[in-house]
C-alpha cells in the first residue's frame, strides 16, 4: 500500500505546477517562462499518460475477455496497486478520452493551418498578406517544411493603427511569433492540457507568455515600448466586439491590459531567477523545486511500474 499510492502520483502531481506557472508568468522573462512552462507541461503530461496506460494494463489484464497476457497482471503487481480493479477499469475510459482529445487537437491544428494556407493561395508570395476586410484581425500563420510562415492582416486592423511605428510594431510582433516558432509551444501545452486537465493553468500561462515574448521582441525591433503598447491597445479596442474565446477572466485584469501595462514598465531582465533572499525569490525557488520533484517522481513511478511489469512478464 505504501508503494501503491506512488503509482497514482503522476496523475495528480501536475497540480504542483500551478504556483510555478503563476510566478513564472509574472516574474520571469517571457521567453524563459515560455520554455520552462512548456517543457514542464510536456514532461508532466507524458508521465501522466504513461501512468494511465500502465494502470490499464495492470488493472485489466486478468479480467475475463481481455486480450492482454495474464502474466502482465501478476498478483504481486496487482497487490502493489491499491484498488487495482476499480483503478484499472476507470483508467480505460480515461485513457481513451485522453488519446481521443489529443488526436482531435492535433488534427484540428493541421486542418486550420492547411485551410489558412489554402485561403492565401493565388496571392503574391510575400511574407505579409494584407486582406481587404472590414473586420480587424492580425495573425501569424506558421509555415511548414516547404513553406515559410506568413503574417495575415486585414485592412481594418492596419487602418486603426496610426503612423508607421505602430504598424511596424504589429508586424514585428507577428514576425516574432513566426521566428520564435511559438505555435510549437502552444501546441505542446494544448496537448498537455488535454492529457491532464490539471495542466490547464499552464496552457493559459503559456498563451500569455508567448504574447509577452512577441511584445518584447517587437519593442526591441521598433525601438519603442510605448509604440507597441499603443498598437496593442488600439487593436484590442477596435476588436472588442469579437466573441470571447476564453473563459471569464478570474484575475483582476485580462491579458491585454496586462501586456500593455508590462510594456509601459522598463524591459524585463533576462536574468533567470530572482535571488533566494527575497520573498518572491524564495517562493519562486520553492515552486520550481516542487515542480522538478513532481516531474522526477512522475517519471520514476512510471519507470518503476514499467519495470515491475517487465519483471512479471516472461519475454
Amino acid at each position: 500500500m505504501s508503494m501503491g499510492v506512488f503509482f497514482f502520483l503522476p496523475l495528480v502531481l501536475p497540480l504542483t505546477a500551478w504556483p510555478v506557472a503563476r510566478l513564472a508568468e509574472q516574474r520571469l522573462h517571457p521567453r524563459t517562462a515560455t520554455v520552462l512552462l512548456s517543457v514542464t507541461a510536456g514532461v508532466l503530461a507524458v508521465c501522466s499518460t504513461v501512468c494511465l496506460a500502465l494502470l490499464v494494463v495492470v488493472g485489466t489484464a486478468q479480467l475475463p475477455g481481455n486480450p492482454l497476457p495474464d502474466g502482465w497482471s501478476d498478483p504481486e503487481v496487482r497487490a502493489a496497486v491499491p484498488f487495482d480493479e476499480i483503478a484499472g477499469k476507470a483508467s480505460i475510459p480515461a485513457l481513451v478520452a485522453v488519446l481521443a482529445a489529443c488526436s482531435r487537437t492535433l488534427w484540428a491544428h493541421r486542418r486550420v493551418r492547411r485551410r489558412a494556407l489554402r485561403a492565401l493561395e493565388g496571392l503574391r508570395d510575400s511574407s505579409v498578406a494584407v486582406l481587404p476586410d472590414e473586420v480587424p484581425y492580425a495573425y501569424a500563420l506558421p509555415g511548414g517544411p516547404r513553406r515559410t510562415g506568413r503574417i495575415v492582416v486585414s485592412t481594418a486592423m492596419l487602418s486603426c493603427l496610426e503612423g508607421h511605428r505602430e504598424r511596424r510594431a504589429l508586424f514585428a510582433h507577428e514576425r516574432a511569433h513566426l521566428v520564435g516558432k511559438h505555435h510549437r509551444y502552444l501546441l505542446v501545452v494544448r496537448l498537455a492540457a488535454r492529457a491532464n486537465p490539471f495542466l490547464r493553468p499552464l496552457r493559459t500561462a503559456v498563451t500569455y507568455t508567448t504574447e509577452r515574448w512577441a511584445d518584447e521582441d517587437a519593442a526591441e525591433a521598433v525601438g519603442s515600448r510605448r509604440a507597441v503598447a499603443r498598437a496593442i491597445g488600439k487593436a484590442a479596442l477596435v476588436s472588442r466586439g469579437a466573441p470571447a474565446v476564453t473563459l471569464a477572466h478570474l484575475a483582476a485584469a485580462g491579458p491585454v491590459p496586462r501586456r500593455v501595462a508590462a510594456l509601459l514598465e522598463p524591459a524585463p531582465t533576462v536574468r533567470r531567477w530572482p535571488s533566494v533572499f527575497t520573498a518572491v525569490g524564495l517562493a519562486a525557488w520553492t515552486a520550481a523545486a516542487g515542480t522538478t520533484v513532481s516531474a522526477l517522481s512522475s517519471a520514476s513511478s512510471a519507470v518503476t511500474l514499467f519495470l515491475v511489469l517487465k519483471a512479471a512478464t516472461p519475454l
Partner: protein, 142 residues
C-alpha cells in the same frame, strides 16, 4: 473522415481515367487562377474563353465548377448570353483570399490552436483599464 474535401481537387481516387497533369493544382490556387484570368479579360467572357486562357489543360466541367464556386462566394457575376453564361469578376485575388480567410475565422473554433491572434477579446473592465493605460502610452516618450 474530415480529411476529405480539404485537400487537392482531382485526387487519383476520383478517376483513374483522367488525363495526367503536369502540375496538380490545389483548389485555392485554381480559384485564384480562374479569377485572375477573368480580371485580364476585356469584358464578360464565357467558360471556353477562361479554359483557353488557363492553357486548355483543365476539363471544361472543372472550369464550370470553379466558376460556380466563385459565384457562390460572390467574387464573380454571370449573365446569360445566348445559350451559355458570360462571367465577370467583382473582386480581386486579395478579396478572394479575404473571403476565404473570414470563412475560416468565423467557422473554426479551434483557430487559436494555430493562429496566434494579435489581441484577444476585451471584457468591459479591461476596456476601462486599457483606456487609462493608453492615456499613459500617449504621453511623449522620455
Amino acid at each position: 473522415m474530415g480529411l476529405k474535401g480539404d485537400g487537392v481537387v482531382d485526387r487519383d481516387a476520383t478517376g483513374a481515367s483522367q488525363r495526367p497533369r503536369p502540375h496538380r493544382r490545389g483548389r485555392g490556387e485554381l480559384e485564384a487562377q480562374v479569377l485572375s484570368a477573368l480580371r485580364e479579360a476585356p469584358g464578360p467572357v464565357d467558360t471556353a474563353w477562361v479554359r483557353e486562357r488557363l492553357g486548355g489543360s483543365l476539363a471544361y466541367t472543372t472550369v464550370i465548377t470553379i466558376l460556380t464556386r466563385l459565384l457562390a462566394k460572390g467574387v464573380v457575376t454571370r449573365q446569360r448570353s445566348g445559350r451559355s453564361f458570360v462571367w465577370a469578376p467583382t473582386a480581386d485575388e486579395a478579396g478572394l483570399a479575404a473571403l476565404r480567410m473570414r470563412r475560416l475565422l468565423d467557422g473554426e473554433s479551434d483557430r487559436q490552436a494555430v493562429l496566434a491572434s494579435f489581441v484577444t477579446s476585451l471584457p468591459p473592465d479591461d476596456e476601462r483599464l486599457l483606456r487609462e493605460l493608453l492615456g499613459r502610452a500617449e504621453e511623449p516618450e522620455d
